[in-house]
């Protein structure tokens, strides 16, 4: 008589996590893990799509043909990232339409940074340098996250993002070597985007209740504060190269900790923006809703045409 070993699925799942194996769509996974991933991946996808808007705002006004081509290609890349991520989320059993619905009705969030306006060309540089910089800091560890489709999407995304970040840095570098007006424009952009970028890492660990669970599930690899500190350390150095200051009088090298100290973040502002009261929340959502609504007849026609073709093919 043979003995049959029954392993409970939960244990298989945790075992895989421990052995740094990927969870794949057909694998069993705990429902809260699935829900957390859906929330996070779709939020990330929405961020890519909404993130097209503030930068897209300067495509028609880019100051040279070369910059115009680079910017257009970049914003297009973001659409591509959105595609990868929606596809990854779909493997968890949610449709793209459903995710859009949640975006449009305000149930799903997106990165609050995109609720700030782009006011000058230098903002395109500052977004590349700071916003993409912060994004990469968040995303590189995600390449090793436990859910296979998400991790693979992140690998492709990170490669492009670091390219974007260098482009942003290069815009600022060019401005830093330009006329006094250009330098002022760039410093102003850095001033406006610095603190919102710092907020991109999310609330401080002390008020981030889900962090522990996400780390256990290997969705998250570092805490918000750890990543934020890394970001500050890198940016503080790079700002020197650019010759711009960061708008934080408390920013200072701390030889004891081996890190830069920095001033307090205005979490009240962060919460306001998250809750819909940022400078551009309404514009961003309105633009997305309008694109979707305006596209309805197009999607319907495309479906109708495809159905006709199918019928024809079947008849033939």
């Amino acid at each position: 008589m043979e003995t049959v070993e029954i392993t409970c699925p939960d244990q298989v799942f945790l075992d895989k996590l421990d052995r740094e194996l990927k969870i794949e769509p057909k694998d069993w996974m705990p429902e809260p893990y699935r829900q957390t991933l859906i929330r996070q991946i779709s939020q990330h996808a929405h961020s890519e799509i909404v993130g097209m808007l503030p930068e897209g705002n300067w495509i028609t006004r880019a100051p040279s043909l070369k910059r115009k081509a680079i910017l257009l290609a970049k914003v297009q890349d973001e659409a591509g990232h959105g595609l990868y991520l929606y596809a990854a989320a779909e493997t968890l059993g949610i449709s793209r339409e459903k995710m859009y619905q949640q975006l449009h009705n305000g149930k799903a969030k997106y990165s609050s940074i995109f609720n700030y306006p782009t006011l000058s060309w230098a903002d395109i540089g500052a977004i590349g340098w700071l916003v993409d910089g912060a994004a990469i800091m968040n995303q590189v560890p995600l390449c090793r996250n436990s859910y296979g489709p998400y991790a693979r999407a992140m690998v492709r995304i990170c490669k492009e993002e670091s390219f974007h970040q260098r482009q942003g840095f290069e815009i600022l570098l060019t401005l830093s070597r330009g006329t006094p007006q250009q330098r002022a424009m760039a410093q102003d952009a850095v001033n406006r985007w610095w603190w919102p970028s710092m907020m991109m890492f999310g609330p401080p660990d002390a008020s981030s209740p889900h962090t522990q669970q996400s780390m256990r599930w290997k969705i998250k690899r570092f805490t918000n504060d750890e990543l934020r500190q890394k970001f500050v350390d890198i940016c503080a150095e790079q700002a020197t190269i650019l010759g711009f200051s960061l708008p934080d009088p408390l920013l200072k090298w701390n030889a004891t900790t081996g890190h830069f100290d920095f001033g307090p973040i205005n979490w009240d502002e962060f919460n306001q923006v998250i809750n819909g009261n940022g400078p551009c929340n309404k514009e961003r959502l309105d633009a997305r809703r309008k694109a979707w609504d305006d596209g309805e007849w197009v999607r319907e026609a495309a479906e109708a045409h495809a159905a006709k073709q199918k019928t024809k093919a079947a008849a033939a």
Binding site: I49, M52, L53, G56, I59, T60, R61, A62, P63, S64, L65, K66, R67, K68, A69, L72, A73, V75, Q76, A79, G80, G82, L83, Y86, W121, I171, T174, L175, R177, G178, T179, Q181, Q182, A287, K290, A291, D294, G295, E296, W297, V298, R299, E300, A301, A302, A304, H305, K308
Partner: protein
């Protein structure tokens, strides 16, 4: 060489302005895939424009070596009356169907045009034509598919497409009417006789329209022309005001 510069600028302006219009869609398309596809076309056109402006600048600088210009001077520092693009390129995006139909008419023209321009005796134009033709072949296929899809889609989409065709068709004639600089280009052997590709274009349009169950509008060449000599519609001024703002506001800066 002045005629040659005009000729190259005509082709460059066409590509720039339609690319610009397409780029206005970026972030606002009916679906992500289409957003990406149209941005791709915009990028291709922008790339063509750059090659052409660079060549125009080269020609210009040979004539005026003391005050050399760049591609950006040509794109950003000329006013409406100096732009030579066809009026079709500057028409507003309207809805998605108008945009894809505008692209279809334009790509159809560009396709047969570049086929001929491959035989230009100007090696630079020849090279640009060969490179561009690959891109344009894709644009033509993509836009044809969309015209068919929307023409032979729902009742609503068909109505919209037939109306879009009525609106845009009058602007197609201009492409086949020769401007003075085109006549010079033909005589000198580096240009294409505009009328010579009309039949092929029309044939292609008729073919695609028939698949799309749409009828080709019938209009006579009339007053919807003038782009080649800088007589534009009122739209171009607004495009340029936006596009050229930074170069105008901060003259002489590097970006």
């Amino acid at each position: 060489t002045n005629a040659r510069i005009s000729y190259v600028l005509y082709l460059a302006d066409n590509a720039l302005i339609l690319g610009h219009r397409n780029s206005e869609w970026c972030g606002h398309g009916p679906a992500l895939e289409q957003d990406i596809a149209l941005s791709n076309i915009a990028l291709d056109l922008l790339g063509q424009a750059r090659h052409l402006y660079q060549y125009a600048a080269e020609l210009y600088n040979q004539l005026n070596p003391s005050a050399p210009v760049t591609e950006d001077h040509l794109a950003y520092l000329r006013d409406v009356r100096d732009f030579r693009n066809c009026l079709l390129a500057e028409q507003p995006n309207g809805h998605w169907g108008q945009t894809v139909l505008r692209q279809f008419f334009f790509s159809c023209w560009q396709y047969y045009f570049y086929q001929q321009l491959q035989h230009s005796n100007d090696t630079q134009l020849q090279a640009i034509a060969i490179k561009s033709l690959k891109e344009v072949t894709y644009h033509l296929r993509w836009s044809s598919e969309w015209v068919i899809r929307l023409g032979d889609g729902t009742a609503e989409s068909k109505t919209r497409m037939q109306q879009a065709a009525a609106d845009l068709w009058p602007y197609t004639h201009e492409l086949f009417q020769p401007a003075a600089f085109e006549q010079e280009a033909v005589s000198a052997g580096y240009g294409v006789t505009p009328g010579s590709i009309e039949k092929d274009c029309l044939g292609r349009i008729q073919h695609i329209f028939s698949e799309a169950t749409l009828s080709v509008p019938v209009t006579q060449p009339g007053l919807h022309s003038g782009g080649k000599t800088g007589v534009h519609t009122e739209h171009l001024g607004f495009i340029l005001a936006e596009m050229q703002f930074l170069q105008r506001a901060y003259p002489g800066s590097e970006w």
